[in-house]
């Protein structure tokens, strides 16, 4: 049976196997994506990011329930780090979402980063497309616990929620570089802990500095996710942001930028594959290396010559 047909027909097993094919770069992965692509573009993609232990999974669980109560179907991609030493991973986000497992309107998939450093895995975007084609209305993408610079989520999501918690030392130092710039909505989780007000004040101060530059001022919502407190208000802010980006054309712009990035990445990776096949695997690279080492030629000239040849 054709796996794409089964997926489009609603088979969760086919969806699951499709994501595996994508992740493992099976031979049929690109033909699957080619077919699925035409069924994508309907889902609203929500990114959830923040430092380790901030409560991203718990918040994803609660937000997913809120959207289920609104009658929406939900897909969740939860990313956890792959060990750079063993290649193994403990994917433990699901443990916060066990209550959703038997809801047929929810599909949760855990992914290891498998060498990617931006907070997602290289195949996350394609897995999102599979969930989109499957017909999910809302797709959550939960990143690994991030520090300051893992901001790939902005490329994958329509709306990004940055989850922060009080008591992480100098709060502003921890967030000022990368993360602060990517939040469309901020959630201060564990807001019943000491320091939540201080964090909110400092965040407000930072965000107000941008106030005149942008017409969307990222709002901050205090949440106690494991109690469900503040979740409904957070959903309202997410919906408000969605309405804003839809109305102003920013959603279309974000998706346009994403398509461009993906197209270029795909093109670059295809060129890389071509180079591997024709220059590395054929052993031709050794001749080039010998020429360089003997000073008969230099890397710049060789690359120039090879490119001329490839592009003919």
């Amino acid at each position: 049976m054709d796996i794409v047909k089964e997926l489009l027909g609603g088979s969760r097993l086919a969806l699951s196997r499709t994501i595996t094919a994508i992740e493992n770069e099976h031979e049929n992965a690109s033909s699957i994506m080619r077919e699925l692509y035409h069924h994508t573009g309907h889902a609203f993609v929500l990114g959830i990011t923040g430092p380790p232990g901030a409560g991203k999974s718990t918040m994803t669980d609660k937000l997913a329930r809120a959207y289920r109560n609104m009658g929406k179907t939900v897909g969740i991609i939860a990313v956890d780090p792959t060990s750079p030493f063993s290649g193994g991973a403990i994917l433990g986000d699901r443990i916060r979402m066990n209550g959703l497992t038997l809801d047929e309107g929810v599909f949760i998939r855990s992914m290891g980063t498998r060498g990617s450093l931006g907070g997602l895995s290289h195949k996350t975007a394609d897995a999102v497309k599979a969930l989109d084609a499957f017909g999910k209305d809302i797709i959550f993408v939960e990143t690994v616990g991030v520090g300051q610079s893992e901001v790939d989520i902005v490329k994958a999501a329509d709306t990004t929620i940055v989850v922060l918690i009080p008591g992480m030392g100098d709060d502003i130092q921890a967030i000022k570089a990368g993360i602060l710039e990517i939040g469309d909505v901020f959630a201060i989780n564990k807001a019943d802990h000491d320091g939540a007000d201080k964090l909110q004040a400092e965040l407000n101060m930072m965000l107000d500095l941008d106030g005149l530059k942008f017409d969307w001022r990222p709002p901050i919502q205090k949440v106690v996710a494991n109690q469900g407190e503040g979740i409904d208000d957070l959903v309202k802010l997410i919906e408000k942001h969605y309405a804003y980006i839809s109305k102003t054309g920013k959603l279309a712009q974000r998706r346009h930028d994403r398509t461009k990035t993906e197209l270029l990445e795909l093109l670059n990776s295809s060129i890389g594959t071509y180079v591997t096949k024709h220059i590395v695997d054929t052993g031709r690279i050794n001749k080039c290396l010998q020429d360089i080492e003997a000073h008969r030629n230099d890397p710049y000239t060789i690359v120039h010559q090879l490119m001329d040849e490839l592009l003919k």
Binding site: E27, S86, G88, A89, I90, G92, T101, I108
Partner: protein, 131 residues
């Protein structure tokens, strides 16, 4: 082309709260290069089977210390087969009397690891039998 990675669901069915062993095994499997989806305590067979489907795992590893293994382990096998996952390897561990093991194997549990098992034996078993 990326090499295939073995994905293992580690779960604790039943009502006992002793997850130390499951965590030790999860960690050993991680160090062996497997992707371990850890779902934690008090999972019903229905939850375990559905999580296995969504995660497309190659292996389900369950630990139980409450004595309900004769009911819960075979039920998981039954449910994953019903869902069309013909190849998934199901293994169990925990405080399980020797006399129960033949019946569990007959019910589709590929192997049962009792207290004292080396984690490396579990890793080797999975590597040798995973499809």
């Amino acid at each position: 082309m990326m090499e295939k990675r073995i994905r293992v669901l580690v779960a604790k069915p039943g009502l006992d709260g002793h997850d130390r062993g499951a965590k030790v095994v999860a960690r050993a499997l991680r160090d062996a290069g497997f992707e371990v989806i850890y779902t934690g305590l008090r999972q019903t067979p229905e939850q375990i089977a559905e999580a296995a489907l969504q995660e497309d795992v190659n292996v389900i590893a369950m630990s139980i210390l409450s004595g309900a293994h004769m009911h819960l382990f075979p039920r998981v096998v039954e449910l994953v087969r019903e869902k069309g996952m013909k190849d998934v390897l199901v293994v169990g561990g925990g405080v399980i009397p020797e006399s129960d093991i033949p019946a569990l194997k007959k019910a589709g549990i590929a192997e049962v690891f009792t207290p004292g098992t080396k984690t490396s034996d579990i890793v080797e078993f999975i590597k040798a039998h995973v499809k």
